[in-house]
Structure formats: structure tokens, C-alpha cells
């Protein structure tokens, strides 16, 4: 079954969508979209570094993302720049550094577009293994830190007073995000990873009544976007990564349309059982 490149692309894409959805929810809840953008832009620098050092791309990208995240946490405490300026500075500097480094390496021939916009159609069985083994690990850690991480998202002090250690969970979450970015880069490329993380979560918000429900819905919408995007790209010969993002966008538009309001209104209303 995995002999066909299109089936491999579907399996890899759905895998990434499933892993990305719970993290995407937290990115939406904690307003970390630009933080995610910075980490994913830095991934291109990771790619350049991996080619230069002839090391494993996924692991190098993960390392660079972690480094940028740590640098960001450090600079936010020290620097006088506001957080969004700092993120913009790091995001685009890392992207530019990656492009310049690639240009210097005249001996390697790289498909730059593949890294910027993804190359899911070339996903190998090896890529799929990395996505599903790494993804299973990410999901199990997420399940483990889910409740405390969500509690700290609602109110940090309340969570801390009730025995949660938000600092530890923040670091774990950041590491998971770096991991997912390293995995998702192949599917949608460094410029579109944040879209794959946040759009399904944003589309799921309208229909969700609880955080867990929102993560599951986001996973479904993300997977559906992969299917719709890949079949669309096959049909109209459009680039696969951007097509997946466009499909996700369509789901989001449906979610904010009056059509969705009809669905949410028909849901059984809360039971009134009196005081």
C-alpha cells in the first residue's frame, strides 16, 4: 500500500495533522502563533546547518528550534525590546541566515522550494516511521501534561496554588513544539507550519465545548484538510503544502459562517436542574 507516493503522502500528512492539533490548540489558547512562526522560520537555518555538517535534518532542525526557543526566553528577560519585535527579529534573521548559508554551499544542490513550502509527495517510508514514532511520543507526553498545562493556561497562579509546576510544563511544551516543527517541515514547509498548527484549532473552536473536545475536533479537521488538500493538488496540479493550508482555511471559513451557527444552535442546550 505504501508503494504509492500518493498514499505515502496521505499517511504522512494525516500523521502530522494528528500530532499538530493538540499543540495547535495551546498555541491558539496561549497566543503563541508568532512564537511558533519564529521556531519554524528557524527550521530553515537548521536545514542549512544539517547540510553543512552532513547531519540528520530532523534532529538538527529540532536542535536549532530548541536553541532559538531558549534564546528567546533568555532575551525576553534581559532585552529591552518588546516580545513581538524580538520574535520578528529572530524569525526573519534565522530565515535569512538559513538562505545565506545555503547560498554559500555551492556544492550542494537543494530544492529550496521543497523546504519553504513542503514536499509531502516525496515522503518516504522512513519519513512516515519518524512521524508516527515521534508523533506517538509527542502525543503521550501531551496526554501526561495536558491537565496541568491547560490549568496554567487558564490561570497560572491558580494552577500553581493548587500544586501545578507551570515552568516545567512550559519547557516540555516548547520541546514538543520544536519536535513537531521538525516533523511537519517536510509536509507543509517552514513558511506554512504555523498555519497547519493553528488553523484546524481555530476552526474547531466554534464547535468545541471543552478543551479535550477542541483538540480532537482539530485533529479531525487537520486530517480532513490533508485529504482535501492532497486530492485538490492532484486534481488541479497545485503545490501540495499550500493546498493543504488552503483546505484548512476553507474549513475555518465554514466554521465562522452562518452555516456553523446553525449546527451549534441545534446542539442540546445545557440541562437546567435548578439550585
Amino acid at each position: 500500500m505504501l508503494d504509492d507516493f500518493f498514499v505515502r503522502a496521505l499517511v504522512a500528512g494525516v500523521g502530522v495533522a494528528l500530532v499538530a492539533s493538540p499543540l495547535g490548540c495551546f498555541i491558539v489558547w496561549r497566543r503563541l502563533a508568532y512564537f511558533g512562526d519564529t521556531l519554524s522560520h528557524a527550521a530553515l537555518f537548521g536545514v542549512a546547518l544539517a547540510l553543512l555538517l552532513e547531519s540528520n535534518i530532523t534532529i538538527t532542525v529540532f536542535g536549532v528550534s530548541v536553541f532559538i526557543a531558549v534564546a528567546l526566553m533568555f532575551l525576553q528577560k534581559r532585552a529591552t525590546l518588546s516580545a513581538d519585535s524580538l520574535l520578528g527579529l529572530l524569525a526573519h534573521s534565522a530565515l535569512a541566515l538559513g538562505l545565506v548559508t545555503l547560498a554559500f554551499m555551492t556544492w550542494v544542490r537543494v530544492d529550496l522550494m521543497g523546504f519553504l513550502f513542503g514536499d509531502v509527495l516525496s515522503a518516504s517510508v522512513n519519513d512516515i516511521t519518524v512521524i508516527y514514532v515521534g508523533g506517538a511520543f509527542v502525543i503521550s507526553v501531551m496526554v501526561f501534561i495536558w491537565r496541568p498545562l491547560f490549568a496554567a493556561t487558564v490561570n497560572r497562579e491558580l494552577a500553581e496554588a493548587e500544586g501545578v509546576n507551570p515552568d516545567r510544563d512550559d519547557v516540555v511544551f516548547m520541546l514538543l513544539m520544536a519536535g513537531v516543527i521538525a516533523m511537519a517541515m517536510k509536509i507543509v514547509g517552514v513558511l506554512l507550519i504555523t498555519a497547519l498548527l493553528i488553523i484546524p484549532a481555530a476552526a474547531a473552536r466554534r464547535f468545541a465545548t471543552g478543551p479535550e473536545q477542541m483538540a480532537v475536533l482539530a485533529a479531525l479537521i487537520g486530517s480532513a484538510s490533508v485529504f482535501a488538500g492532497l486530492f485538490g493538488s492532484l486534481e488541479w496540479d497545485t503545490p501540495s503544502g499550500p493546498s493543504i493550508v488552503v483546505a484548512a482555511l476553507l474549513f475555518f471559513i465554514v466554521s465562522i459562517s452562518p452555516l456553523a451557527a446553525l449546527i451549534t444552535q441545534n446542539r442540546p442546550s445545557p440541562i437546567v436542574d435548578g439550585g
Partner: protein, 250 residues
């Protein structure tokens, strides 16, 4: 200062006087610069912070909000919501609640944990006068049911909950402390508060032996001015206040 089991301690003081910081020290969120906090072993705290805002991106119903930091049996959730009178809001989204409903939901989630110590940071903030009376009555009945200690921060400098055992007035340090005055027997207060409120509210009469100057210095009763104010520095006539926060068993 001490908070004992079954005791209600009310903190009052001007803005920036350290009321919330004191509460956070008792919760272990802030480490004290001086002195120390002694908490009973395996103390379970219920906390109602001053400001909790839940924005639209967070899908959160009241019952999920109750189980924020740990699973709580359904029966216990229903019981707590019943006690605070918001059972009908069990499946409502938190962001749609009114100020009074939200404070009751916050109290319910603190109660559901069956705490030994309840820390309430301005629980009647944004609640109208009638709502304030109802919430104070509720806090008293929670204390009576659970027998927990209550550390309550009041937004009012003079009017406190009648069930308060000890009022502590803060302004960077303990300015004065003592029990509130019972106003239920006073006709003048009954006229002011109304017959419903009089048994619930009480007045606290301050007895300061020093004044805080606008530049942060302190003028003492004997006319001397110092940069800081310490209970044991010879300027005060009251016995030294022990610098101890926390909850101990009665």
C-alpha cells in the same frame, strides 16, 4: 499572623499595601523577603484569585473548570455547585457568566477540593451590594460546613464580614489588627446597611499609632519620622506582632 482551622481572617489595607502579596505568600506563590511561612503538612488550599479572565479562545464549561487541576468526583462537583447555588450553570461556558455567577463558580471550585485553607482575594469585587451580602453569607456557611480556615482580602477599608474573627490592616507591614465591631445592635448602622445586611457586615475601627506619609516614610505617634516601620523598633505601644503567615491547626 495566624489562620487557624475554622477561623476567618480578613486582610484590609490601601491599594499596593501587600494584601494580595500576603495571600500569595500563604499559598507559596511568592517567597517572603523576611520572616517565614509555616503551613501544616499536606495542607489542601482552595484559592480564588483576584482576576481570572477566560477569553473566547478557551472552550471551558463550569464543570470542566471545576476539575482544572485534578479529577473531582461528579458527586462532589454537583454538591459544591449546589452549595454555592449555581447548579443550573453546570454546563454553561465560563465566559458567559455574570460577575456574581463567576465568583460563585470560583467559590464552588475551591469548595469542591474540600480545602483546609480557603484563600479569597477580593471575592466580592464587581458584585453589587446584595450580591456581596449573599457571598459573605455563603463564605460563612462554607466555613461552618468544612471547618476550614479562611484568609479573605477585602476591598473595603472599614466594612468587613461580620463573621470575621480577626481583621489585619496592612500597609507594607501590619498597621493594626483586632476583631471587628458588631453593628447588628446599632440602630444607626441598621439604617445604613438595611436589616438584611446588618447581621452580615461589621465595621472595623482602626487604631493606628503611626501615619504613612506620601513619600513612603512613616510618622510615629511620638512625632519621629523613620524610613520604615517595624513593630519592635520602640515607636509602638502595641506588643510585637509575630511575623508569621500560614495556616495551623487549632
Amino acid at each position: 499572623m495566624d489562620v487557624e482551622r475554622g477561623q476567618i481572617v480578613t486582610l484590609i489595607g490601601p491599594n499596593g499595601s501587600g494584601k494580595s502579596t500576603t495571600a500569595k505568600m500563604a499559598l507559596g506563590l511568592v517567597a517572603p523577603d523576611e520572616g517565614n511561612v509555616n503551613l501544616r503538612d499536606r495542607l489542601c488550599v482552595g484559592y480564588v484569585p483576584q482576576k481570572v479572565s477566560v477569553d473566547w479562545t478557551l472552550p471551558l464549561t463550569v464543570s470542566r473548570f471545576m476539575a482544572l487541576t485534578g479529577r473531582i468526583p461528579v458527586r462532589q462537583i454537583d454538591e459544591a455547585l449546589g452549595v454555592t447555588g449555581v447548579s443550573h450553570l453546570r454546563n454553561a461556558e465560563v465566559r458567559t457568566l455574570s460577575g456574581g455567577e463567576f465568583q460563585r463558580a470560583m467559590l464552588a471550585r475551591a469548595v469542591a477540593r474540600k480545602p483546609d485553607l480557603l484563600v479569597l482575594d477580593e471575592p466580592v469585587q464587581g458584585v453589587d451590594f446584595n450580591g456581596e451580602i449573599l457571598i459573605y453569607e455563603l463564605i460563612k456557611s462554607i466555613r461552618d460546613d468544612l471547618g476550614c480556615g479562611v484568609l479573605l482580602i477585602s476591598h473595603d477599608l472599614h466594612v468587613v464580614m461580620a463573621a470575621t474573627d480577626q481583621v489585619v490592616c496592612l500597609n507594607g507591614h501590619v498597621c493594626c489588627s483586632g476583631p471587628p465591631i458588631d453593628v447588628a445592635s446599632s440602630d444607626a448602622y441598621r439604617e445604613l446597611f438595611g436589616t438584611r445586611a446588618t447581621p452580615t457586615l461589621a465595621v472595623y475601627e482602626h487604631s493606628h499609632d503611626h501615619a504613612h506619609l506620601p513619600d513612603g516614610r512613616v510618622r510615629h505617634a511620638d512625632g519621629t519620622i523613620t524610613d520604615h516601620c517595624h513593630p519592635g523598633d520602640g515607636h509602638h505601644h502595641t506588643p510585637e506582632t509575630p511575623q508569621k503567615f500560614g495556616a495551623t491547626d487549632a
